[in-house]
Symmetry: D2
Subunit: 291 residues, 4 copies
């Protein structure tokens, strides 16, 4: 479920996955209510085929009787017997995002608006690009902009430089806002499920290069965009969000590119929002979206 | 959440609403897990503005230690202190549906298919119409068909005859599948939140007569359909489901009528499915859809 | 553009394609207006990349000064110098359709409704299946039903029997309404661009077998359906129409199958309608849809 | 049909409406082809009910034998006998746009991107607001920003000041990018069919104030946005474009406001594009969109 935009209250969110068995919801909700926590949102899902249980629960910390710094340790006692994998987040933690761009600005504008308007509780710590094209735009908004040129031969060095920047800027997660370079497995391993890409097709159709050209060649009546966590395999990571737009025979490749941008920017922004709100759980290269 | 189509297992579903307070989810889930019930689906919602709590929980009865005929009485002990309004349903109860039609067959065909194919666990007990037009179609599928003519003057008598038929056929809920007559407040009072209508506009636009003509006159670029529970006020009941279709200046009123039928039949069928699966809670003339 | 549903008037429709050059529209419209024809609909398209011109024009024959049987010969004088490929259709010609089905009935119900209600001006001459499952449904609607069993070994004989039936019933075009068999190149060659299939994915994603299983495995957030003319290559023919539906992590494979049916039947019916209205031109394995 | 984004060629576009009669298309296309013009796009529409003919035709001026400054006079000879109302546009004429804003920036960001990226061939000559809030954003992009405060009492003076600015900046058309003030009939009369508004509902539902609050109160499952030319009657002008987004019971009013912004900005931008490309004809308070 969507968390409200402007939460004056302080809340905690638990994201849980574990083998399914009886009593899981009762155990977690009892932990919260026993210590006087008021549940704001609760959602759960059981993958019956895989026998896996997933849960997201957010509660008001106002009168919660466990101090926030002690919650994790106390919850461990619940989590261990159920073999839970879990994350605990607090609503006043503002994550630090890096944006990677190349030469197309539509996703960046969309993100800048959401940041400036307060729609997202996030710090845009740095914009990294293989081209200088958007340094002016970054400067307009007072965001550090770093150019790291990438060529086939210098890729390892370039990625090392990028990783150093991510460390320097204390980055929590990365958004590839139409960054047109392939990310290496090594790079991905530093930010597992924390690099969000937007691919300009409805995956798995047209993975890889020039999807709009190929969509045009195939004569499809619908184009799309897919946002996913980046994994070692190109355009094959867990899909977070997808959407589409109708096209027809009148649309040239250039029309598909133009129309597609509107889908890309919205799909990417919805995916980033899910990530920011801790609404995403990844398993089996798929996502559970608690929305 | 959608219940699976073909549930070989026997399950119970609780639909609950009450004033929001701490411990509600814990109390209900503890009731289930303490008696060895395995939760299949759980969804809850809090209307923070109205301070109302809503919940739907479905659990496997396989090893549940309370006999099904005793569950309601035992749950009462949980429900009372929390001032819960609640319903308990079992997955092997097949509800009995009456369909009201006039002269348009598209929704009826769609429903007949879902019934015949086993997509819906429902008995179509009777089709009631103010016209004989669809008696052949009903006969083809072996469903009783009753004609109750309605005129302005005979409305009370007609409704009395219809109500008698609903009683005779032991009807649980009514689907108005493009039945073009207005239902009286008295009639509605016999089946509160159990009469599902499809209106051929995206409500609240174009409530009342001839919505496609009015949509055409206004030059809208989108038409829609809305399924809602019938209340005393025309086309003003709680909306269960809506959907839309794009149109343009080339579409005549007849085109809108034709295109709209495809939206109408899908929207109505989705609403009926939510009702059949006990996924709908009504409050404040709105619906919570646990889907 | 959509032709009106109920055309009391008699009209002619020309579908034209040829190398693009100046004066094409003027030549065709002059031919019509010079002989006192009133244009009802005109649409054209130029593929600038391929330098190909496409046109559909429909005109009222009421006061047209060339008798209908002489129109083709007279138009030849216009067409030849421009190297036009063209078709001429009259609105009172009712095409004869064969439907191929296997065991799923949703598309068939949808088609039967459109036929019965008069939405389509078409004769359903015969239903052909590799299974007897739908003979009852066909019988209910008085449509001849022929079972032609198909196995790996008997495919050539089966197709020969099917072709004989198509000839016997004087079939103009074939609709594969979830007929789950692959059609041979030889079979297709008898009805080029006259066999319409519905595939249960948004092509080119998930061509071939079990698309919903693969969509579920990939964790997509959108499923779709695609209607196309059948060619020698499986699921690779020119796409006529596509549409999609949102799904999420709660949807099992069975849910995708169920939800997908609603998209399939609408997409197939829209494609058939385009075909019936002579709104489709095929080139380069793509379609121009004059809608 | 969409004109290509980057047209290196010089083209002329005629927009025509007149009483329907035989020979209209032939007369216009003959005019073009006789003088060696190559038609790039042609679209026409007949409103059979009103007996009105509409046409948009765009042709390449490369080898057109009439000098561009003489085309209008020469076309007059065609237009007069048919009683045509018509406009002639050339592709190298860059219109001057004024944007009116209040305090919400999402539409403005979206427009600024399209302008900066070259997606639109338009000059943003001035931004006018009743609040100073967006002066910084305007300054970032080097666009003149003028504050004209508006109160109930000073409306006439404010509108006079705005009209003076529009004249000073030689404005061709106005975009109300979530400008929350009502425009007077007098103001509208200066720019008939040249003021484009975005209203945050699917009109005619929820015309007027606070549409998201009212949508939430009614419990709709779909919200929308509508872009229209402003007329004297509030939110009742000819609709250019509409689109929608699904919502559910979890969405608070604030969620509707946030989600709606994404629809608003895309719908407004599509409407502005149609206007820029001369794809819109207005009649009977409705639009023909040649797209």
């Amino acid at each position: 479920m969507d968390a409200p935009d402007l939460t004056p209250l302080l809340s905690a969110t638990l994201l849980i996955s574990c083998p399914d068995r009886k009593g899981l919801v009762a155990a977690v909700t009892d932990f919260i209510s026993r210590h006087n926590g008021n549940i704001l949102h609760l959602d759960q899902h059981v993958d019956a085929q895989e026998n896996v249980f997933f849960m997201r629960v957010e509660w008001d910390l106002a009168n919660f009787q466990i101090p926030r710094e002690a919650i994790a340790a106390r919850f461990e006692a619940i989590a261990t017997p159920f073999e839970m994998t879990w994350q605990l987040h607090f609503s006043d933690q503002i994550p630090r995002m890096a944006i990677f761009v190349s030469k197309e600005a539509h996703c960046l504008y969309d993100i800048l608006y959401r940041h400036q308007s307060g729609e997202w509780a996030v710090d845009i710590a740095v914009i990294i690009s293989n081209h200088p094209d958007m340094s002016d735009l970054a400067a307009k908004f007072g965001i550090p902009y770093r150019v790291v040129p990438v060529s086939k031969d210098t890729k390892p060095e370039a990625e090392a430089a990028q990783l150093a920047l991510l460390e320097e800027f204390k980055i929590d997660f990365v958004v590839l806002a139409r960054y047109m370079q392939i990310i290496s497995e090594n790079f991905v391993s530093h930010y597992p499920n924390r690099i969000i890409n937007i691919h300009h097709s409805f995956l798995p159709a047209f993975a890889g290069a020039k999807p709009y050209h190929r969509a045009h060649g195939r004569g499809v009546k619908i184009i799309g965009a897919s946002s996913h966590y980046v994994t070692a395999e190109l355009d094959a990571g867990p899909i977070i969000e997808q959407d589409i737009m109708r096209v027809n025979h009148r649309d040239s490749v250039e029309d598909l590119v133009r129309k597609g941008k509107d889908v890309e920017k919205l799909v990417l922004s919805r995916a980033v929002r899910y990530h920011l709100n801790h609404q995403v759980l990844v398993y089996n290269n798929k996502t559970v979206i608690f929305a």
